[in-house]
């Protein structure tokens, strides 16, 4: 055995020991378990400082974790909303064009044209303040002060009749008193039990449906497909 081969064999053996010891494995493309070497610490990277984390950690959870310190009333929120939000979301949250609708739609979820607004669909108010904080206004993300954030959030909740008094001041201490009505109407993924019928031992191969197939709908009649000539220009 050449030196080179011996070294290879040795390191391979070491690898085997390591993998067995740590029981570390990740699925391989063929579905079997393969093991990138060593689950032990490499020392790569460095400890993140509290200040670094604070600068980027903007997430808010339904239990109130992550709520920034601040306050704002519905009344204070109205002019801010009109100035920075209404051009896309509409003066009353009804949406302008195809931008997301923020209000209305109560009682529509079982109908033919369900409206998924903050008040009619969203389960948690924390989602609203979190999203405004991280992504709004569109094109000027993370530009709001904490007080502006609370004021605009309060105003959107007011548009949804979740807050009814325009003098109401929303802050990090009373935020958890806000409840959205549709919260109970979410369930975790249950497809593997409710759609069990899609696991079929012997899928039908011949004469699976009686009668000849009839066309019941055509895309060309609806005619909403972009024309090839209109696509983005390529150099």
């Amino acid at each position: 055995m050449s030196k080179c081969l011996k070294a290879l064999a040795l390191s391979f053996a070491a690898l085997l020991v390591l993998t067995t010891e740590h029981g570390f494995s990740a699925p391989r493309q063929d579905g079997k378990k393969a093991a990138p070497p060593a689950a032990k610490k490499t020392g790569i990277g460095r400890e993140a400082t509290a200040k670094e984390i604070e600068g980027w950690n903007i997430s808010v959870r339904p239990d109130g974790r992550g709520l920034p310190v601040g306050k704002g009333t519905v009344k204070q929120g109205e002019p801010l909303y009109v100035e920075r939000c209404a051009s896309c979301h509409g003066e009353f949250g009804e949406s302008a064009g195809r931008w997301p609708i923020l209000s209305g739609g109560n009682g529509t979820l079982k109908g033919h044209d369900p409206v998924r607004s903050v008040g009619s669909y969203w389960p948690y108010a924390s989602t609203l303040i979190d999203y405004i904080r991280r992504a709004m206004p569109f094109g000027a993300a993370q530009s709001l002060t904490n007080n502006e954030l609370y004021a605009i959030t309060a105003y959107v909740l007011y548009l949804n009749d979740v807050i009814r008094d325009e003098r109401f001041e929303l802050n990090e201490r009373n935020f958890m008193s806000i409840r959205l009505p549709n919260q109970p109407n979410f369930i975790d993924d249950d497809r593997e039990s409710t759609e069990k019928e899609f696991w079929r031992k012997t899928p039908c191969m011949t004469n699976c449906v009686p009668d000849e197939a009839k066309i019941t709908g055509r895309a060309q009649i609806i005619d909403v497909t972009p024309e090839t000539g209109k696509s983005p220009k390529v150099e």
Binding site: F24, A26, Q29, A34, P36, P37, A38, A39, T42, I44, G45, E47, A48, E52, I53, S59, R61, G97, R98, W99, P100, K110, P114, S126, T127, D130, Y131, A135, F138, G139, A141, Q142, N185, F186, I187, D188, D189, R191, F198, W199, P203, M205, C208, V209, E212, A213, I215, T216, G217, R218, A219, Q220, I222, V224, P226, G229, K230, S231, P232, V234
Partner: protein, 428 residues
Amino acid sequence: MAGTDRHKDKPAASRRTVLRAALAAGGAAALGRSALADAGNPANQPPNVPDWTRNLGDGVAVRAYGKPSKHEAHVIRRDVEWLTASRESSVSFTPLHELDGVITPNGLGFERHHSGIAEIDPADYRLIIHGLVDKPLIFTLDDLKRFPRVNRIHFCECAANSGMEWRGAQLNGCQYTHGMVHCVMYTGVTLKTLLDEAGLKPKAKWLLLEGGDAAAMTRSLPLQKALDDALIAYRMNGEMLYPEHGYPARVVLPGWEANMWVKWLRRIEVGDQPWHHREETSKYTDLLENGIARRFTFVMDAKSVITNPSPQAPLRHKSGFTILSGIAWSGRGKISRVDVSLDGGRNWRPARIDGPAWDKALTRFYYEFDWDGRELLLQSRAIDETGYVQPTKNELRKLRGVNSVYHNNGVQTWHVHKNGEVENVEVS
């Protein structure tokens, strides 16, 4: 010179003109293109000798970064303008009908952005892992590349792929009906490796993945998936990720909906419960007929589509030997079989899978037959290794209604007319 001059002499035969004529005639756009391709230019064909056989061409490195032939310039991602309010928060679609095999070229994989593409300087790239860990860590891109690497080929499908088709046939082309999927080889580090480095606290159950784009896009991820097969990838098909796919680092969650594959990844927070953020409550939840909405519907059900022929790629011959080609995939594992039907789902026959049928990856199938020139109602159905059989659209609607937007994996029907044109239809 013959070839070039001939084209100059005949501007009326430009592709665009033919396309317009075809559209005006009410035909499929692509039919015009194929007619042109069939005609060609006799001056370039035997017994004549074309320019490219007489004259020198470009030398090496003139095309320092290669791209497809100028004759393939129509093979691009396309968007549907009316779908969204702005291109920064929108989607473009993979031209599936122009591709074969199972790997998507880097420049053609569909895009979905929530606040546009973040252009990140790799020198300033940082990834923070914190929360319920022994030691919060911060990594540079070079740090990520120092960890043990893995290579994985997986499909990536938007949960809203085919979402416009819930109420009936709407968009005429598999690029639009099924083009929110692509499949590349990712190179990166397993998420488990990074979590081991930080050390998980016993209460850790969920992770928050957060992007560095102007939406700071977030999704909650169950820890089990993170430990099972999640990757933090920085390469696709060997190259560094393209900016539109999350350069310099993104999350890869094999078999799970693409919205969770956070691009431009900047932060991973470890917690004991999900965050219920916008993309897992207001969006990416599946509203059922009874007003109840399913959440955390992560897995992509088995699905398939015939890519050729399809409305953008009609049949160019009137009859005779004909190849159907398509792709199948499943978020639960490998594709074990694909069946095709020529009569709208009355009778089925197994298709021929060619090339690799990898775990949670696009799988290519073909079906060859002698076309007698009659109208066809083409369908394909995927069967995965768990025994899941791709349902018809009506079977799906029966269980879910038509309001769920996401996870439409119903069987697609293409109507092939006698003249070879193809239309997106629904059948009884």
